[in-house]
C-alpha cells in the first residue's frame, strides 16, 4: 500500500507546478516529484520569424524578468550580425544594456527579498498568513518603513528599465548589435540626484541595510538558516575571464560541492558541448546536466548561491566586503545551504546598486555609437546571468534571415533537479511516518522551493506567500488527510 500526498500551490493549480509525495506502506518517503505543468512550444513557433524579432518575442516567456530574455536573445543575435559577444559592442551599447540588466537584477532581488522573504523572517514562518505579506508589513508600525522600501526599491529598478528599454514590462531597447537609445541627461540626473528616496545613493544605503537585516536574522536563527535544507551539489554560472562575478557576460564555469573546478573558461558558443538536458514523463520541465558527469551526477545549481560559489571576487567594493564575510562563514568552501541563497541574493542586490551608480556616472551612456556591425553568421548563442540563474538562448538562421532553430534553457530549468532534491530532503525529514499534513510541513516544502525564487511561482510572491493545498491519499484514492490554506 502506498500513500500519495499532493501539494498544489494555488498558482500551480492554475497551470504552473505541483508536488506529489509518495509514502510506502511503512509511511516512509518512497518518491517525491515537483511537476511543472506548463508547456508553451516557443522553440517551434519562433521558427520562420525574422531573427530580429527574437528579443521582443521570446521575452514573452516571462513577465517577471523579461529583461533577461530580452538581453540573452539580443546577445545571441550580436553573434549572428557579426558584432561579436560581450565587448564586441560599442561602449554605449554594452553599458546601456548592463544598466538595464542591473536595474532588472535590483528590482527582482528586492521584490523577492522584501515582498517574499522579509515577511516570513520578520513575522515568523508560522505567523498568520493574513499578515505575513508586504501589506502586513505596511500595517505593522514597527515594519512600515520596510514596506515603503520594498515598493520604492522595486520602483527604482523598474524606472531604470523603462529609461533603458523603453518600457517596464517587455521593452524594446536591445537590438541585434547594440541598443536603440542613449540615456538622456535629465534621466541620468533623476537617478543620481532624485528626490528622496528615489536616487541611487539611497538605494545603495537600503541595499546595505538589507544585507545587515539578513545577517542579524541569521545570527539569531543560525540553527534554522544553516540546517533547514542542505545538500551537496555542483554549481554553475558565468564568470568574467579573471574570475570576477559578472552578471552580464563571461565564460561558463562549474565547481563541485567541495570547490573543485569541473570546467572553466568554456566559451558560451560551445555550451551544448558541455550541457545536455534529460526528459522525464512527469514534468514538462527538462533536467539539464553537465555531459562529462552524466545525468545522475552532473546536475547543478544556478542562481545567487551558485554564482557566489563559482566567482572568486566581486568587482565592487561594498559587495566585495560582504562577499568576504559570506565566504568566511564556510571557510572559503562552496556554500551548499539553501537558505543562504537569501544572503547571496542580497549581496548581489548591493553589487547591482553599486554597478548602477558607476554606470550612471559614465558619459558613454549619453553619447556614442549605438550599434556595432560585422559579417553575418548563421548561428549565435547568448548567455546571461538572470536573477534566478544562468539563461541560455541559441538561434540559427537561414539565408532569408528567418529563425530555423531556437533552443532555450531558462534559469529555473537548471534548478529543476535541485528543487526536486530540496523537496525530497524536506519530505524525508518532516513527512516520514506522518498520516496527517500540518501547516509546518506544508510551509517546509514551500520554503525550500521558494528559496530558488522559481519563476514558476513568481508573482505569487508579490504580496503574499505561496499558498499550498496538500492531500494525503491512499492506494484506493481515498483522501486520508487534507490541508488547505
Amino acid at each position: 500500500m502506498t500513500n500519495k500526498i499532493t501539494i498544489e500551490p494555488v498558482t500551480r493549480v492554475e497551470g504552473h507546478g505541483k508536488v506529489t509525495i509518495h509514502q510506502d506502506e511503512n509511511l516512509n518517503i518512497a518518491q517525491t516529484r515537483l511537476h511543472i505543468v506548463e508547456f508553451r512550444g516557443f522553440e517551434r513557433f519562433v521558427q520562420g520569424r525574422p531573427f530580429w524579432e527574437a528579443p521582443v518575442l521570446v521575452q514573452r516567456l516571462c513577465g517577471i524578468c523579461p529583461v533577461s530574455h530580452h538581453l540573452a536573445a539580443a546577445k545571441a543575435l550580436d553573434v549572428i550580425v557579426g558584432a561579436g559577444t560581450g565587448h564586441g559592442l560599442t561602449p554605449t551599447g554594452e553599458k546601456m544594456r548592463r544598466l538595464m540588466h542591473y536595474g532588472q537584477m535590483f528590482q527582482s532581488h528586492s521584490l523577492h527579498f522584501f515582498h517574499l522573504a522579509a515577511p516570513d523572517l520578520l513575522f515568523g514562518y508560522d505567523a498568520d498568513p493574513a499578515i505575513r505579506n508586504v501589506i502586513g508589513l505596511a500595517t505593522t508600525p514597527e515594519f512600515a518603513g520596510l514596506a515603503v522600501q520594498a515598493v520604492m526599491m522595486r520602483k527604482f529598478g523598474q524606472e531604470i528599465i523603462r529609461a533603458t528599454a523603453g518600457k517596464k514590462v517587455h521593452g524594446t531597447g536591445a537590438i541585434p548589435g547594440g541598443i536603440n537609445k542613449h540615456l538622456s541627461i535629465a534621466e541620468r540626473d533623476e537617478f543620481l540626484k532624485g528626490t528622496d528616496p528615489l536616487n541611487i545613493d539611497k538605494m545603495i544605503e537600503w541595499a546595505q541595510a538589507s544585507v545587515e537585516l539578513f545577517k542579524g536574522y541569521h545570527k539569531a536563527n543560525a540553527e534554522f538558516i544553516d540546517n533547514f535544507s542542505v545538500f551537496k551539489s555542483n554549481h554553475l554560472s558565468l564568470v568574467r575571464e579573471d574570475g570576477a562575478l559578472d552578471l552580464y557576460h563571461g565564460v561558463l564555469k562549474a565547481v563541485d560541492s567541495e570547490g573543485n573546478v569541473i570546467m572553466n573558461n568554456v566559451d558560451c558558443q560551445d555550451y551544448n558541448k558541455v550541457i545536455a538536458e534529460g526528459v522525464k514523463t512527469w514534468s514538462y520541465m527538462k533536467f539539464p546536466y553537465i555531459i562529462e558527469l552524466g545525468p545522475e551526477k552532473g546536475w547543478y545549481r544556478v542562481g545567487p548561491l551558485a554564482r557566489l560559489n563559482t566567482c572568486e571576487f566581486i568587482p565592487s567594493p561594498l559587495a566585495q566586503k560582504e562577499f568576504e564575510i559570506y565566504k568566511a562563514y564556510t571557510n572559503g568552501k562552496p556554500n551548499n545551504m539553501c537558505m543562504h541563497m537569501h544572503w547571496a541574493r542580497l549581496i548581489e542586490l548591493l553589487h547591482s546598486a553599486e554597478m548602477m551608480k558607476e554606470l550612471l556616472n559614465d558619459p558613454d551612456l549619453l553619447k556614442g555609437d549605438l550599434v556595432a556591425k560585422g559579417e553575418k553568421v548563421k548561428r549565435g548563442v547568448g548567455i546571461i546571468e538572470a536573477p534566478r540563474g544562468t539563461l541560455f538562448h541559441h538561434y540559427e538562421i537561414n539565408d532569408n534571415d528567418q529563425i530555423t532553430m531556437a533552443n532555450l534553457i531558462v534559469s529555473t530549468t537548471n534548478n529543476n533537479e535541485p528543487m526536486n532534491q530540496g523537496v525530497n530532503f524536506v519530505a524525508k525529514k518532516m513527512m516520514t511516518g506522518v498520516k496527517e499534513i500540518t501547516e509546518g510541513m506544508k510551509n517546509a516544502v514551500e520554503v525550500v522551493i521558494r528559496a530558488y525564487d522559481p519563476c514558476l511561482s513568481c508573482a505569487t510572491h508579490a504580496l503574499g506567500k505561496m499558498p499550498l493545498e496538500m492531500k494525503l491519499v491512499n492506494d484506493k484514492d481515498e483522501v486520508v488527510s487534507e490541508f488547505k490554506s
Binding site: T11, G15, V37, F39, E43, L61, A459
Partner: protein
Amino acid sequence: MSKKIVATTSLAGCFGCHMSFLDIDERILQLVELVEFNKSPIDDIKTFTKQCDIGIIEGGCCNSENVHVLKEFRKNCKILVSVGECAIMGGLPAMRNGISIQECFNEAYLDGPTTKGANPEGIIPNDDELPMILDRVYPCHEIVKIDYFLPGCAPRADLIWNALVALVTGDELKLPYEVVKFD
C-alpha cells in the same frame, strides 16, 4: 461603502500583466483601502470563499486546467476583465495555433541541440499529474463571457489602476491617450 471584492489569476500568460499591476507602486497601499482580495496569486486564498465583484484574468487558455479555472472565475465573479493580449486574443502563445502540438513537443524534447542524444528513449512528458494541452490557445471570451478588455502587452499600470478604480467606485473610466498601448 463596503469594499469591493477582487480576484485575479494568470492562465497561459507570463505574469507580466500582474507585474504591471504591481507597477502601481505606492498606490498599492491605497488599493487595499479600496478593495479586498479573494482568490488571487497575490494572497493566500486558494478557492473562492465568497462571491466576488471583479475578476481579473491574465493569459488565454492553453490547457484543460486554464479552462477549468476560467469557468470558476465566471461562476464566482460578477464582472470579468480580460487584461492583456493573451487573455484578449491568445497573445504570443497563440503563435503555436497553426502548428501541431506534436511538432512543438518534438522540437522541445527530441530534436533540440541539448536534448538530441540525451533522450535516447524518446520520452515526451505525459503523466496523470500533467493537464491536457489543448489543440490551440483560446482567447478567454471564446470560453466564457467577458465584460471588459484592457489591451496592451502588458497594459501599463495606469490603465489597470484607472480601470479598477472606475469599476470599484462606479465613476466613469478615464482613458487618456498615453495610457492605452497596443503593442
